[in-house]
């Protein structure tokens, strides 16, 4: 479960401070797959980063008793000048997978992302599709209670989407997902709760269809 208590989050931009959330409090029940929907720039990714602990609120508390993955997004998480293999090794070391465990995870990501010998090229030479395949595969190589997936699946081709769905079926037996997506069928298929992020507030909908309706209206 997640609990947000009086969370305020702002960013300092060259033109001053911009608030994303003010005094936000809500609780998300445990064991649910969570969909984050909202317009571009509404604060979905910020919320996800806050949930994952990759960013911290200005004030307030975000409490959880689960292990949470890093935010798996389209851009972040990789050092562009290092090769795919080095990036994977780096993440393995952060999460304590060394020796055989590391080799096994590298093989898993290489197979999953179908990048073959591209694995030894710098990440910055990858296409966005390849990059997101590696990012997604890498997060799937580790076990978490919650996976934070930020629009990664929407860029892939049909075959990759099918593969993601297969792995997800398997992972979601034990784990949950926090999913940012603009694809409503995907949200409908995977999520049990929808959080609609709009104008600095968050509306929790236990009924997914109702949440999507509110988003579209």
């Amino acid at each position: 479960m997640f609990e947000l208590r009086n969370v305020t989050k702002s960013y300092l931009t060259p033109n001053g401070r911009r608030y994303v959330f003010r005094n936000l409090s809500l609780a998300i029940p445990p064991g649910k797959n969570i969909g984050l929907i909202g317009r571009n720039g509404a604060g979905k990714s910020t919320l996800m980063r806050l949930l994952g602990g990759a960013d911290v609120p200005d004030s307030g508390i975000i409490a959880t008793d689960r292990s949470i993955s890093w935010p798996v997004g389209l851009t972040g998480g990789f050092q562009g000048s290092m090769t795919g293999r080095d990036n994977i090794k780096f993440v393995c070391r952060i999460y304590g997978a060394t020796g055989d465990a590391m080799r096994e995870k590298i093989r898993y990501v290489q197979d999953f992302a179908e990048i073959g010998d591209w694995i030894d090229e710098p990440i910055k030479t990858y296409s966005s599709g390849m990059r997101s395949r590696v990012a997604f595969g890498l997060s799937m190589a580790f076990d978490f209670d919650y996976y934070l997936i930020d629009e990664v699946m929407s860029v892939g081709d049909a075959q990759f989407k099918r593969k993601c769905a297969e792995v997800f079926q398997d992972k979601l037996q034990k784990s949950n997902v926090v999913l940012v997506s603009h694809s409503m069928p995907e949200i409908e298929k995977l999520c049990d709760v929808v959080l609609l992020v709009r104008n600095g507030t968050i509306q929790v909908y236990d009924d997914v269809a109702e949440g999507i309706k509110a988003y579209n209206s």
Binding site: Y11, G52, W70, Q79
Partner: protein, 233 residues
């Protein structure tokens, strides 16, 4: 190829300057051969300068890695110091062997003191780099001014000439600069007959470093959340 260039760039820089100034200024200065004199001082100076300057870019270069909550900005600063030290040590070793090969006397007069001073200098560079990083994070436009300020430091820190050649009347002001102290100390520890100017002291560098570390780590502590979450870094 990129890895090779990492070593080649400082190597060529050092070699070129050493030989250029040796040609301009003649063979010896205060009893030592000029190329040796230059190398001994310029190598640590470049290490400290590069460390301090590159730390200003650490946040921007590693922003994508802060998605992993285990990684803190401080890690990237420490990593930068380690990387720069490894590069500088390798380049220096290559050049020392090269110079010795061509018959220069590359022996170190008091090696343990030399290493201690180098480490103090590294700590100073780390403190300075952190300080500049905190400063330029708050005021990004200062970066270019700081970069430019390092150019005159070349001359007033006694990289190319012994400090005793600098104007004596200015000495009290010039001695405020810790780089001058560091370079004089390092040269006195490497070259047997080199006497540093009056007023050069290890204590000054150490106290300066401690104050700098206190300030920069304090600023880091106060702004650590902001460093990760900012959008303009």
């Amino acid at each position: 190829m990129g890895a090779l260039w990492m070593l080649l760039e400082p190597l060529v820089h050092l070699l070129l300057f050493t030989l250029l100034f040796a040609m301009l200024r003649g063979r010896t200065v205060s009893g030592v051969e000029y190329p040796v004199f230059i190398l001994v001082g310029m190598a640590p100076f470049l290490l400290y300068r590069n460390t301090a300057l590159r730390m200003m870019d650490s946040l921007r270069e590693n922003r994508s890695l802060f998605g992993y909550k285990q990684i803190k900005p401080l890690d990237t600063y420490v990593a930068r110091v380690i990387v720069e030290t490894c590069i500088a040590a390798t380049v220096y070793a290559i050049l020392v062997f090269g110079f010795a090969w061509f018959g220069f006397d590359m022996s170190i007069h008091s090696p343990l003191q030399w290493i201690a001073t180098l480490l103090v200098g590294l700590l100073f560079a780390f403190g300075l780099g952190m300080f500049l990083a905190m400063l330029t994070h708050a005021l990004p436009s200062l970066k270019i001014i700081i970069r430019m300020a390092f150019f005159p430091l070349y001359f007033i820190s006694g990289v190319l000439i012994p400090a005793s050649y600098l104007p004596q009347a200015m000495m009290p002001v010039l001695l405020l600069n810790p780089f001058l102290h560091l370079l004089e100390l390092i040269r006195a520890e490497v070259l047997p007959h080199y006497t540093p100017v009056d007023g050069v002291s290890e204590t000054y560098v150490i106290s300066f470093t401690l104050v700098l570390l206190f300030l920069s780590l304090g600023a880091y502590r106060a702004r650590r959340m902001h460093l990760i979450s900012t959008k303009n870094g």
